[in-house]
């Protein structure tokens, strides 16, 4: 069954096609939920809600853009809605300081899943959400400001603070190989 046939079958509420769509996209979307939410139970709750909305409104998908992108937008919106309900985005504020981030670069090739989750879990919800939206979803600051109902400057501030905090954390935890790579970078 092709992607198009699967979508058409889902629009006719065919249970087998719905199951196939879930099995294909659930792992990716679970990863998205985990980036926004610390607790795995919350992530699964949001995933359930998101897939219910996907199957309920699949008739609105008109084929423009990728199907995965359409599902991802629903999942991200559900995550933000969950955070709003929990009042987790209230403490976002604007900073006046300026950090020169160009000198703060790392030489680590890749982060392991547990380390990503650990690092994200150390961030306040405001930093974490803006970081996810900007870095991993590709939203612009204007779009983030509209989504979170904050100012554009607040969005930028949150991103700068998130980046600074992540750099500090990476150094603090002595990420495998990071010290050697940093030494190598300074000797070069």
């Amino acid at each position: 069954m092709t992607e198009h046939e699967r979508i058409v079958a889902c629009q006719q509420q065919h249970p087998t096609a719905q199951r196939e769509v879930y099995e294909r996209y659930a792992p990716v979307m679970m990863g998205v939920c985990r980036r926004y939410l610390s607790r795995i139970e919350d992530a699964e709750d949001v995933l359930v809600e998101s897939f219910c909305k996907v199957f309920e409104h699949i008739g609105q998908y008109n084929g423009n853009g990728s199907f995965e992108g359409w599902i991802r937008r629903i999942v991200v919106n559900e995550c933000l809605m969950f955070l709003r309900k929990k009042h987790a985005l209230r403490n976002a504020y604007e900073i006046q300081e300026h950090f020169d981030l160009r000198t703060e670069e790392h030489t680590v090739d890749k982060l392991a899943a547990d380390d990503i989750l650990y690092l994200l879990d150390q961030l306040p919800n405001g930093y974490r959400t803006v970081f996810n939206l900007y870095v991993l979803e590709g939203y612009k600051h204007r779009e983030i400001a509209d989504l979170l109902e904050i100012s554009i400057n607040t969005s930028k501030s949150q991103l700068i603070l998130a980046k600074k905090r992540l750099q500090e954390l990476l150094q603090d935890i002595k990420y495998p190989g990071i010290q050697a790579r940093m030494r190598q970078a300074t000797s070069d």
Binding site: Y22, E104, K110
Partner: protein, 160 residues
């Protein structure tokens, strides 16, 4: 080795978070979908076009009027039984008196005289016992024997 910005580091590593959710998650979604999915019976009612619904309601109304009018005009059980049984022949009770009949009637009238008109019953006084004239106590007659037991009657017989 080329240095990486921390944003790129996260972008390239983000796929590592892709993990399948726990097994009961699909069951939860399925239950929610089954709750929202219309059943066949409900769907047939909801998908009825408006004109068909109006026609069905009209047909029901006509049917109800026909049934109630038929029930109203239907004969009752008594009427039914009368209709089924044999017709009653009404006997002519008119008597035409001939000469001999008139004589016979006169004889009967003589042999059965009309009873004298009785006196109307007078209302008694309140608090008194109602009894027939023959039952009224008289000083000349013996007092009404008292009802006695079998043993008293036996003793009386023995003394005799």
């Amino acid at each position: 080795m080329a240095q990486k910005d921390i944003f790129d580091l996260f972008r390239e590593s983000a796929d590592a978070l892709n993990t399948p959710p726990s097994a009961p998650t699909w069951g939860r979604i399925e239950r929610r979908l089954q709750g929202k999915r219309p059943s066949v019976r409900r769907a047939s009612v909801h998908r009825l076009p408006p004109m068909a619904a109006v026609a069905a309601a009209f047909a029901l109304l006509i049917g109800a009027v026909v049934v109630f009018s038929w029930v109203g005009n239907r004969p009752t059980a008594t009427q039914n039984s009368m209709a089924v049984s044999t017709p009653i022949v009404v006997e002519d009770l008119a008597i035409t008196l001939g000469g001999t009949d008139a004589m016979a009637i006169a004889e009967i009238a003589i042999s059965h005289p009309q009873p004298a008109p009785t006196k109307p019953i007078q209302e008694g006084k309140a608090g008194q016992k109602l009894m027939a004239r023959s039952e009224q106590p008289s000083f000349r007659t013996a007092p009404t024997p008292r009802h006695d037991s079998t043993r008293q009657r036996h003793e009386r017989d023995v003394m005799r």
